[in-house]
Symmetry: C2
Subunit: 432 residues, 2 copies
Amino acid sequence: MTYRAFINFLCLGNRAVTILNRSSGRLLHIQMGIRNIASQAESGFNPAKVAVVTKMTRYEFEQQRYRFSELSEEDLKQLLALKGSSYLGLLERHNIHTRNVEHIVESLQKEGMEVRVVKRGQYDEETVRWADAIISAGGDGTMLLVASKVFNKDQPVLGVNTDPERSEGHLCLPVRYTHAFPEALQKLRRGQFRWQWRQRIRLHLEGTGINPTPVNLHEQQLSLEQHNQAHRITLMEAQSSTAPRPPMCKACSLSRPYLLPVRGLNEIFIGESLSSRASYYEISVDDGPWEKQKSSGLSICTGTGSKAWSYNINKLVEQAVGEVLRIGKAQMGLDIPLSQELIEKVTDEYNKSLVFGPEEGRMIFSIREPIVNRVFSSSRQRGFANRVCVRSRCWDACMVVDGGTSFEFNDGAIATITMNEEDQLRTVLLEN
Amino acid sequence: MTYRAFINFLCLGNRAVTILNRSSGRLLHIQMGIRNIASQAESGFNPAKVAVVTKMTRYEFEQQRYRFSELSEEDLKQLLALKGSSYLGLLERHNIHTRNVEHIVESLQKEGMEVRVVKRGQYDEETVRWADAIISAGGDGTMLLVASKVFNKDQPVLGVNTDPERSEGHLCLPVRYTHAFPEALQKLRRGQFRWQWRQRIRLHLEGTGINPTPVNLHEQQLSLEQHNQAHRITLMEAQSSTAPRPPMCKACSLSRPYLLPVRGLNEIFIGESLSSRASYYEISVDDGPWEKQKSSGLSICTGTGSKAWSYNINKLVEQAVGEVLRIGKAQMGLDIPLSQELIEKVTDEYNKSLVFGPEEGRMIFSIREPIVNRVFSSSRQRGFANRVCVRSRCWDACMVVDGGTSFEFNDGAIATITMNEEDQLRTVLLEN
């Protein structure tokens, strides 16, 4: 075992399975012996330079949105009222966020760390190079954006939820640390936490007429049109000799597999860009046979993402579970009462089975709303996979990473979706 | 009961529920008395002028697609091969379609009917005005396009599936009549069929900065960019004094409810245009309280549409049903074997419950992949409704009718979705 692997392993008491998958049986005993040590990070969290990337609040967004109409605050207030939104409500959330960011920055500076505050719109590779560690100050969306530009598995990325009362933050520290950030910082410095390496997805693209240049969807302002212009522009860039891309010309040249410049922390979504249009594609799971599919797209998620979109695609609500159990009971001729409690339990257990660990080196694919008929196959709709290959039969489709980075994926393009040790994202696990 | 209603009722033996909903109990007895008559259309199908609207085949589509690259047939052949498609396969399907269209046209002419063949791209209001009846020659997609322009509930619309071996055609005549079209025509002329009035959905739009001008997505070539340009162009048109639209200026004027110039035969989809983006909106069902929702959009379907997209959104696969039953069994501490046969039966019965009759005057709404957290409500994900109101909180969203006609639906816009007797589509039910 390499030194890196050994340190990883010392730091990750809860990675037994992963460790075992990678190493010999002997390791197991060592690990059992040092469980306590394992709950301590070998070296604390002591970065000299920290970049704090802040989200755009809805208030800032609404201002941005009408920046060309030169609205006064009063105009904006009236406009939002017309649309049934509360100006004061948005302003309050904005101020809460701003105060929380200030709190984070001051806490870091008190610890003698050099801090750079960067708005999500300005976050770039230069910031990543400069920082020893990066803190996302917002919600999960901001955390995903921050992570998307980090490729060094030793560079820690933390998320702090700056609107803990109102927004979820699965990828962030426990919400209480938003206000008690100095306490979090102390624990981090003392090593009273666990490093968590979250597995990510990598994408290879090959085929005819492909364009491996990413388009950023993170900016909320991005409209369909801007999205498409961006695709057109990047295509031009891509075709210029300077841009990194595989050898290709128009729609009539083949290209070698090309590793795309992003990693998926949550999921990859593949499908027609227009939400109302069905997607045609062929899929091969773990080098199995190619199967034709027509569906509302395809989702491939990590353990981290198994709690996100993929979960919402696959989860069942009590309404459905109750009906299935009622029908099953009748079919079996059983006369047992079906309590709400039972329905809740079953729903809960079923939905839990859709979630798996962020460190696990496997993915879940979900064929979304499959159209089953004489032409299209009705095989497994969902399952674990280590390698998924997809051949596009789409007209105007995209491959979207974590809802934020989009790649063209049209008829003739082939994507290979896998996981790789190198791509792990280094985050922290802090007890609540 | 009006004469029209009485004729409807005579013609529609299988409309008992609908009839009952609309009329007095006394009618029931009459109806029971004349079930046999009811299976006969009072007057046969004898149009003098028939428009035949033909689909665009994949072969034509591929030719169109590269029309500017001046490809020879040989080039096209090689290009398709590069993309893993079979030129000969596409050409064969195209020839089959073409022969079937010729067969339909000749059969109609033999009966002395005047026939106009119109490609789907050329199909317009003038064609609808000219024709006594319209035949869609293609699949369900073509049928939906044809129906979308028909507003007279007495103008019959028939669908003939021109690729019966390869495509589904829920909205078309039984597939055997594609080759035996003269036989179908004889039955239609003799009145050996039932008229079927399919209920459709109507949309009212109101709020700030709305644009009630439709954008046609039917043309397969339409890319995201074209889609958006279309929206921009129609907005300009709409703002010109000639175009029919409610009083509005920029984003700062309110408008009165405006009846949109389409009817939904299958469903309305509401959500962000970009398939990878979550949609924020508020919904009120049957004048109930407004509820905040964040989801992958919202679908509202008719009985006809309950077999289409809405079915794929809500149906369960055996994989899921099996797991639910297994968990339920364990939770109940039952030791009964769970046969594949049982799982299939339960799946089948559950999925059947998602389908209802095309003539029923109610809709099913489905909140798609709801995000449930502290902010967004976790109430019913799906249910029947007579009236659904939706307030958009989206940034770049659309309201798409039958996957073919799109309307802008951004923050501030409010849609009211209902059904109305006047909007029924007149089709035929022919025994297989």
